[in-house]
């Protein structure tokens, strides 16, 4: 068991023939991911990495039965690409692209929600179900199979966390990098619920950052809904207070988004909070033994 993706998942790549798309699609295939084709407008009919290339997502879905798309298109076109995936019946779009305009992602996310498509990212490492399916840019070899679910805003902290869990003799069910942009797809709450329902997952590692209030919302959710042990780290305790122009940002949520505020909320929800990411592995060992 795992969440969202497994060895049966059929994946297409949007931006398949570009440099990034090619490199990472190849890596994903080597990991065992079922990449069944890709989309590059104008290159339909060609074969790339031994897989068919289509002009549109609609054609790709009809021909391959893919349910997931890994999106590598450049930032200026990513909103369009996500909307195309949503309208073509894709169930989950994993958006790797960094630097997408916020306004475009706002529209793309609204379109995805309307069409019942889930999204992960943008600006994220993607999702990996250990030993089965890697959809993203993470180094696959770190993620050994095991019983710990991982959710992280930060890419490299995802690797750091997973590596420590593995070094302590445990492993990963599924790891999801949700990204830290202002508009993101699946967030802590939905993923915590999925891990709670996943029979194989026995503990959850949650890695957050300063800014916004997603971790505060997650803390409330954990208190009421999650019975599995959760280990958390919030990056940015030593970050300087940002130089700001206006005040409006902090007023909407009523939260300043500091690491301390988030750590306190998570602790109050019964989460094992560590002050350094170097302690994640040990904390997982503690909650599982």
């Amino acid at each position: 068991m795992s969440i969202l993706v497994n060895k049966e998942t059929k994946v297409i790549v949007q931006g398949f023939t570009g440099g990034e798309g090619t490199f990472h699609a190849e890596q994903c295939m080597a990991y065992g991911t079922q990449i069944v084709g890709g989309v590059t407008p104008g290159k339909g009919g060609q074969t790339h990495l031994g897989k068919p290339v289509f002009n549109t997502v609609k054609e790709a879905v009809e021909a391959t039965g893919a349910t997931v798309s890994m999106v590598f298109v450049p930032p200026a076109f990513v909103g369009d690409a996500v909307m195309e995936a949503a309208s073509a019946g894709i169930e989950l779009a994993v958006i790797i692209t960094e630097g997408a305009p916020v306004r475009d992602m706002q529209a793309a996310k609204a379109c995805a929600v309307k069409n019942g498509m889930m999204t992960i990212g943008p600006n994220c490492p993607g999702i990996i179900t250990a030993d089965e399916c890697k959809i993203g840019i993470m180094p696959g070899n770190i993620f050994k199979k095991g019983n710990v679910g991982l959710i992280s805003k930060s890419g490299t902290l995802t690797y750091e966390g997973a590596n420590q869990v593995v070094n302590e003799g445990y492993g990963i069910t599924t790891a999801v990098g949700i990204g830290g942009d202002p508009i993101i797809g699946l967030s802590y709450k939905q993923l915590l619920q999925m891990f709670q329902e996943d029979a194989e997952t026995e503990a959850i590692v949650m890695i957050g950052e300063i800014g916004g209030d997603l971790e505060i919302q997650a803390a409330k959710f954990i208190k009421e809904n999650i019975t599995k042990p959760v280990v958390a780290f919030i990056a940015g305790q030593t970050a300087p207070k940002g130089k700001r122009m206006g005040h409006a940002g902090a007023i909407i949520s009523g939260s300043a988004g500091t690491a301390k505020e988030k750590m306190d909320a998570l602790e109050a929800a019964g989460v094992k909070v560590v002050v350094s990411p170097a302690e994640i592995g040990k904390a997982v060992k503690e909650v599982l033994s």
Binding site: P101, G155, Y159, N163, N167, K243, M245, A278, E279
Partner: protein
């Protein structure tokens, strides 16, 4: 990217959002000329820096003659203005905005920002203009009116009605003016890919007109490529020169006041590394994210920027390679030791993609002050020890 008040007001005017008339000036003489051109008997001399709280910091002054305009402009230009948003080092004032005086009957607050939770823009308004709005939000939250606008449908009549009735505006003509004001502000927020617009205060004049007396605007950096006219408004003197130099090499750098220089890939791990150094009893000298495409050249540049800071006593290179390949970083470290005089101990932890090759490269190079670390905790401990001269 942020812009100055006078630039924000240029955008406001383009969209028909009313503001007092004003002219920007770089010298006291230009300020006098501006005042004469504007006419009238009263002017406001306003320091142009990217921070709020200018009035309290002494950067906004009232002048009742052109002589006074000259004197005040002379005082404000060249001063280092410290407000609660500039940090203790303050900001050098290089431009002043000369604005005609306004007949203020009432002060309001109006802003547009992205509500991340609702995933749509939100307009916030308050009758408590001219005050620190965070204090208003904390002490009397009921005095802040919040109206979410779904971009799929745009600004509707009811958004306007919620705002004016919430603000207690009862006069029909005034209601109409205020609704038009808010609707235009929303339009310019969307069309320019703004991240934030804040007007504090938005004044009602004795004549019943609404004017943006102040204006702060920030933009989504990722969308600047489609707004060359806004990109042109960038004031590089408002940016830290080291941060700017770093950004030209794809590095994200922020100077701090500690002793251990950090070079890390990924913002999250970079912050996590600083947190770990702190936890181990050390102090980080900087935040430096080498990004996903680090090359030997960018790593060498990173060393150069870190070592400009005389407080740095040790450097901790912490790389968990995903997209970044560790062998490239190792080569960058070798390159850096040739290009830059690396005169402090460098603790290196390389993990992930091609880590074994990287370890081999560093081992063969056999550089004196490079200390290998096995993991994050080990690396932070060694860096803290090295900074204390215990290595």
């Amino acid at each position: 990217m942020n812009i100055h008040e006078y630039q924000a007001k240029q955008i406001f005017q383009k969209y028909g959002v009313p503001t007092p008339r004003g002219i920007v000036a770089n010298t006291p003489d230009e300020a006098v000329k501006a005042a004469q051109e504007l006419g009238g008997e009263i002017w406001v001399v306003k320091a142009q820096i990217h921070a709020g709280g200018r009035g309290l910091g002494g950067g906004v002054k009232l002048a009742k003659s052109t002589e006074e305009v000259k004197q005040l402009a002379g005082e404000i230009l060249g001063m280092t203005l410290v407000t609660h948003q500039t940090g203790p080092e303050g900001k050098l004032v290089q431009k002043v905005y000369i604005e005609e005086g306004a007949n203020i009957a009432d002060e309001l607050y109006l802003s547009v920002v992205l509500d991340r939770a609702a995933e749509m823009p939100i307009i916030m308004a308050s009758t408590e203009g001219g005050m620190d709005i965070e204090t208003v939000a904390a002490e009397t939250p009921e005095k802040i009116i919040k109206v979410s606008v779904d971009p799929a449908y745009g600004f509707q009549g009811y958004h306007g009605r919620e705002l004016v009735f919430g603000l207690g505006i009862t006069d029909k003509a005034e209601q109409k003016k205020m609704i038009a004001f808010a609707s235009k502000l929303y339009k310019l927020y969307m069309e320019n890919d703004a991240e934030m617009i804040e007007i504090n205060p938005l004044i009602k004049t004795a004549e019943g007109d609404f004017l943006a007396l102040d204006g702060k605007m920030g933009f989504d950096d990722s969308a600047l490529y489609r707004h060359p006219e806004i990109e042109e408004m960038r004031d590089i003197t408002e940016e830290d020169p080291d941060e700017r130099e770093a950004s030209q090499y794809g590095l994200s750098y922020i100077a701090l006041d500690g002793e251990i220089g950090c070079m890390v890939n990924g913002a999250g791990l970079a912050m996590g590394t600083m947190d770990t150094i702190n936890y181990m009893g050390g102090t980080p000298a900087n935040f430096l994210d080498v990004g996903g495409t680090a090359s030997a050249e960018t790593v060498a540049k990173g060393f150069e920027i870190i070592l400009k800071n005389p407080n740095v006593k040790a450097i901790f290179v912490n790389i968990f390679g995903g997209i970044v390949r560790c062998d490239r970083i190792a080569n960058g470290i070798l390159e850096a030791t040739k290009l830059v005089d690396v005169n402090v101990p460098v603790v290196v932890r390389l993990d992930g993609t091609n880590a074994a090759q990287a370890a081999e490269i560093l081992k063969n190079a056999n550089i004196d002050n490079v200390i290998a670390a096995s993991d994050l905790g080990d690396g932070a401990a060694k860096a803290v020890a090295a900074a204390k001269g215990e290595a």
